[in-house]
């Protein structure tokens, strides 16, 4: 039973690391929009957005000449 004196502090250490990581995630804005992220997993059939350079000048800009 003496191992408790080692194991409990280790468990607390892991807990502290867990809390630290979670707080970091919250502060970096990862939980700011719970509605969207929950839904997003369903929508990723297509290639992820952001690589706009892949499709330059496709017909989506049609009819939109201000």
């Amino acid at each position: 039973m003496d191992s408790l004196y080692l194991l409990i502090p280790i468990a607390l250490l892991f807990c502290a690391i867990g809390i630290k990581l979670l707080l970091w995630a919250i502060d970096s804005g990862q939980y700011d929009d719970l509605d969207k992220e929950a839904w997003k997993i369903l929508a990723d059939d297509e290639a992820p957005g952001g690589n706009a350079g892949d499709v330059p000048g496709d017909d989506t800009s049609r009819g939109k000449k201000p």
């Binding site: 039973m1 408790l4 004196y5 409990i8 468990a11 607390l12 807990c15 867990g18 809390i19 979670l22 707080l23 919250i26 502060d27 939980y31 700011d32 929009d33 719970l34 509605d35 969207k36 929950a38 839904w39 997003k40 369903l42 929508a43 059939d45 297509e46 957005g49 952001g50 690589n51 706009a52 350079g53 499709v55 330059p56 000048g57 496709d58 017909d59 989506t60 800009s61 049609r62 009819g63 939109k64 000449k65 201000p66």
Partner: protein
């Protein structure tokens, strides 16, 4: 598809290969105002770096990051659609939509893509878009949200740790444990629980203290007492190595309460639009005369004395005096009515009203702050601060609960100090912990969250704080007329033929002529196929339309206008409709009667409200006979017509001062102040944004039956809250005497507390059943 605006949006979406949107969206989009390309030009002003500076940042590589506020985002699929569309524009590096704040963060290369094109693109998708101006209130909200989430996370992880140690301790109590291990487990529990209490439970202490200093007893006070004293007693027990520890109850209690509050807040703020300002309805780009030429200038740069050009169909950007031109302006902002007022040189026109008929030139009278619209916005703000706060049920229960607990605790302490002074402290503390009002404090938030999510499923967005409680007690239900009890658009009610021309032909001819008009009347004819072959259609401001066909001259419009061509025109029928005449040369052809049709379900809703003993009233900005007429038709006893927005507000305040609890239903910008001041308020689906921000409930599908559903749900919610209180209190009444006799060990206290909380939550979930018809 209902209109050209929708068609343009649908075309754009499918041309971009983004049809998946239609399979994944969970709510219908709002109707776009008009075909999109017409709007593109107005965004050119945003290419001006000076104007753009307030909402953009320039990165080190010359990239620009802009923050835009989007209107009309209805569900998560919209965010996908927007992000995909933006990512496909050449030059966009990153596009990220925040659904909760309706905000788009976009980073792009200004050399490849002007900012105005991003605006135009979003507009073409059918979303309203404007610069995101960071306000103190908005940043504050974001910060509070993160802080609450941090507290919840720490409490949750802490609860797991302390719970593990607690199980070992409880097991030890039952089957025996060596003192050194018990001491170790208590010490680590103390460590974790102390961190949780300091980090997570702090808001309970601060709120309780703040209210206590003002002499108010709120629910947070018994909560803070229970947490504080249980922690203190357990800490003492740990240090002195005697008595009992309640660390698991302390952290579990903290976590449950934080979770309840977090969910309640999230349900409420889901559709928060407090950011909305009346100014947002005004166009940003204005045509003004500068150095003898018409130039497009940003609205904020207009000064008093400038001459501006307002085209037909434009929203008037500032309060101004007409210098030339003749037209009519629709002033539904201020009176809620769709029928326009005729204006000519010398008349004053107001910001946010719409110029309907013909182009006007006008002299700017002053800045936005001096305008009538700003005055309306100010009275909205006044309404918010002047709104009477109904005492929350929970707080009233709390105030006598605290008293009772303190009394019982003191009595226990006194009795035990006579019987067995050594045990007195521990028994007294166990009374405090057992009475821990977790179930009591959860009773209201659990029920409100549950009711709100049930209502959302049936098409009502719940926004207001305490509005469900207030609605359950409402004594008066007040309606606005146009757009609320009526459809808000004119339809053809009767056609009185004066010649032998058949009805279909008359209507086709009328539709063909009205096709050229942008007057609200023209929309009544929008669904009729127009007759072909019309020539030389001419619009006479303030009178009507004139056209030629096969050598005949047709006129359509007001009585004097038609009579001047056809002197034999009889006066219109008696019925109180909006009559317009049609004549061919000197032959009168027909009278066409238009009306703003009453919503089909209005009568049923009014009847249901009266059955539920609410007094129904009608307040309208329309000063015609229509108001009293409609009231008689629906069986509404009390009518006030011709009211200004501020008068409506005063009326409701007078009722409230007389002790009434007022629920208000409205739609227009002119209803915003009165919606703000009412105890519970509804905005119908077509309502203007400002009215929506002031309303506690937004009826998404525009069905007035939802009002009945909502107050039934509110009353059911009140019953459930009462049951929760009854249960939580009776649990306390049973448990406290047992604790006072010293019969409750800590493990039983922990189980009892969790079970009573779960029961309260389970009972509240019954509200989640879909409301009946």
């Amino acid at each position: 598809m209902c209109c050209p605006g929708c068609r343009a949006v649908a075309g754009l979406i499918s041309a971009s290969g983004l049809e998946t949107f239609y399979q994944q969206r969970t709510a219908y989009n709002q109707r776009p105002s008009e075909p999109a390309p017409a709007n593109a030009e107005q965004y050119l002003v945003y290419d001006d770096p000076e104007l753009a500076a307030s909402f953009t940042e320039t990165g080190p590589a010359g990239d620009i990051t802009a923050r835009l506020l989007l209107g009309g985002i209805s569900c998560a699929a919209c965010t996908w659609l927007i992000e995909q569309t933006m990512a496909r524009l050449p030059g966009v590096k990153m596009a990220l939509v925040n659904l909760q704040q309706s905000r788009l963060d976009i980073r792009f290369d200004p050399a490849l893509l002007p900012l105005s094109q991003i605006f135009a693109r979003l507009d073409a998708l059918g979303y309203r878009v404007r610069p995101f101006q960071a306000s103190a209130q908005r940043t504050q909200m974001g910060r509070e949200y993160r802080l609450e989430l941090r507290r919840l996370a720490v409490a949750g992880l802490g609860m797991m740790q302390v719970g593990m140690f607690a199980i070992a301790l409880h097991a030890g109590d039952i089957q025996g444990i060596e003192a050194q291990y018990q001491g170790l487990l208590r010490w680590v529990s103390l460590l974790v629980a102390t961190f949780v209490v300091i980090f997570s439970a702090r808001p309970f202490f601060t709120t309780a203290w703040r209210h206590l200093r003002q002499g108010a007893l709120v629910m947070d006070l018994p909560v803070a007492l229970a947490i504080g004293l249980a922690w203190l007693a357990s800490a003492w027990a740990t240090v002195s190595g005697t008595g009992q520890v309640y660390f698991d109850s302390v952290v579990m209690f903290t976590f449950f309460l934080l979770l309840g509050r977090f969910l309640e807040r999230r349900a409420r703020q889901r559709h928060n639009m407090t950011w909305f300002d009346a100014q947002d309805t005004l166009p940003d780009a204005v045509s003004a005369l500068r150095g003898g030429q018409w130039q497009t200038v940003p609205r904020v740069q207009l000064c008093s004395g400038d001459i501006v050009l307002i085209r037909a169909g434009d929203t008037i950007p500032v309060d101004a005096q007409v210098t030339s031109g003749e037209s009519a302006v629709r002033e539904d902002t201020f009176n809620g009515e769709p029928m326009p007022r005729s204006v000519a040189a010398g008349d004053t026109i107001y910001a946010s009203t719409v110029n309907v008929e013909a182009a006007l030139q006008a002299r700017v009278l002053g800045s936005y702050l001096e305008s009538r619209l700003a005055a309306l916005q100010r009275s909205v703000e006044q309404a918010q601060t002047g709104k009477p706060r109904l005492a929350r049920l929970a707080d009233r229960v709390a105030s006598w609960f605290v008293g009772a607990i303190l009394l019982v605790t003191t009595a226990t302490a006194l009795v035990w100090s006579q019987l067995d002074p050594e045990q007195a402290l521990w028994v007294t503390l166990s009374v405090l912990v057992i009475s821990c009002p977790c179930a009591l404090a959860l009773a209201t938030p659990a029920a409100l969250t549950s009711a709100a999510s049930a209502l959302r499923a049936s098409g009502v967005i719940v926004r207001g704080e305490n509005a469900l409680e207030a609605l359950a007690r409402a004594t008066h239900l007040i309606f606005d007329k146009t757009g609320t009890l009526t459809e808000g658009t004119l339809v053809i009610a009767r056609v009185e033929l004066l010649d032998d021309m058949p009805r279909e032909r008359v209507l086709a001819l009328a539709a063909a002529m009205q096709h050229y008009s942008s007057h609200p009347v023209a929309r009544a004819f929008g669904e009729i196929a127009p007759a072909p072959g019309l020539q030389d259609v001419e619009y006479r401001v303030g009178a009507g339309l004139e056209a030629r066909q096969d050598g005949h001259r047709f006129r359509m419009g007001s009585e004097p206008f038609c009579r001047s061509q056809a002197p034999g025109l009889a006066p219109p029928p008696e019925e109180p409709l909006y009559w317009i005449a049609l004549c061919r040369d000197s032959v009168p052809l027909a009278w066409i009667g238009l009306e703003d049709r009453t919503r089909a379900e209005a009568a049923a809703v009014v009847a249901a409200a009266r059955e539920a003993d609410m007094e129904v009233q009608l307040l309208t900005g329309d000063s015609s006979a229509q108001g009293p007429l409609l009231a008689r038709e629906l069986g509404i006893g009390a009518v006030w017509s011709g009211l200004e927005p501020q008068q409506k507000m005063a009326h409701v305040q007078a009722l409230q001062n007389a002790g009434a609890v007022v629920a208000m239903v409205g739609d227009g910008l002119n209803d915003a102040p009165v919606l703000g001041v009412a105890d519970a308020s509804f905005a119908v689906a077509s309502a203007t944004d400002l009215a929506r921000t002031q309303a506690d409930f937004v009826l998404v599908d525009g069905d007035l039956h939802s009002i009945t559903t909502t107050w039934r749900k509110a009353r059911q919610g009140r019953r459930i809250i009462m049951q929760n209180f009854a249960w939580a209190l009776s649990y306390n009444f049973c448990a406290i005497p047992l604790a006072a006799c010293g019969l409750v060990p800590p493990w039983a206290a922990a189980i009892g507390m969790s079970m009573s909380s779960l029961l309260v939550v389970g009972n509240s979930l019954r509200l989640n059943n879909r409301p009946g018809p």
